[in-house]
């Protein structure tokens, strides 16, 4: 059983992370990964030059670790890998990568889904989009909030 949680200012390669993660596994049959990428267009269609993610001291990493711990407690997963960028991220670059491994397909999917829902709404980041004409702060959408609430309503 292993849990890797990382906060980095540097760019990272999701495929290389999946390779490392897979190489670390034992006899697990199911591996799920999620990659969140910075988009070149905002929801309103305007161009985004960069995404900037702010953090706060050790609290950001601790919030990620707590979420990963909850995922291991809640789902039958043996390994997890969570990486989150901080700082300035260009369109197309990975913002967040999550991988989970389990003997069971369903548990691997649900744990990755759960990790992302909670990272989106509870990890300590503040995100702003830089446009040609300024910057705007992004907060979780109503959909993000609804996605997280799913896990409060069902047990498993």
């Amino acid at each position: 059983m292993s849990s890797h949680v990382e906060l980095t200012e540097a760019g990272f390669d999701p495929a290389a992370r999946l390779a490392t993660f897979s190489a670390s596994l034992g006899d697990e049959g199911a591996v799920v990964s999620f990659t969140g990428r910075a988009r070149g267009k905002a929801k309103d269609g305007n161009a985004v030059g960069a995404l900037v993610l702010e953090t706060y001291r050790g609290v950001t990493l601790a919030s990620m670790q707590a979420i990963a711990g909850d995922a291991h407690e809640r789902f039958v997963i043996t390994h997890s890998h969570v990486v989150h960028r901080a700082g300035r991220i260009l369109p197309g670059e990975a913002i967040v990568f999550v991988a989970t491994a389990s003997p069971h397909r369903r548990a691997a999917f649900e744990a990755a889904d759960y990790l992302m829902d909670r990272l989106k709404t509870e990890a300590v980041f503040w995100k702003r989009e830089e446009h040609p004409d300024g910057a705007s702060w992004i907060e979780p959408t109503a959909q993000d909030q609804a996605d997280t609430v799913r896990w409060l309503q069902s047990e498993g």
């Binding site: 609290v59 919030s63 989106k120 509870e122 990890a123 300590v124 907060e139 979780p140």
Partner: protein, 86 residues
């Protein structure tokens, strides 16, 4: 009333109005979080708008605290607007 000047860090969009740090005089016996926020808004009217949008949480000495927590002079204090990971 004995007061001590304390530095408060403003995270995310809260830093837009007055920058990421403001100094505030705190009574030596401290202030509960909602009162801190209200005093801050009185001293820095430009912050009022940001402080009233969404739920603002306080972080004391690197721990996010419930509203009933008391902020004391000397604490490392930050105010968090709603977060937005991933």
């Amino acid at each position: 009333m004995a007061v001590v000047t304390s530095r408060i860090e403003l995270c995310g969009r809260l830093a837009d109005a007055c920058g990421p740090f403001v100094d505030l005089a705190l009574p030596v016996e401290g202030l509960p979080v909602p009162e801190l926020i209200s005093v801050l808004g009185e001293h820095f009217p430009a912050l009022q708008d940001g402080l009233s949008k969404g739920r603002i949480r306080a972080c004391i000495n690197e721990t996010i605290v419930p509203d009933e927590a008391i902020v004391l002079p000397g604490d490392i204090v930050a105010l968090f607007p709603p977060v937005s990971g991933g």
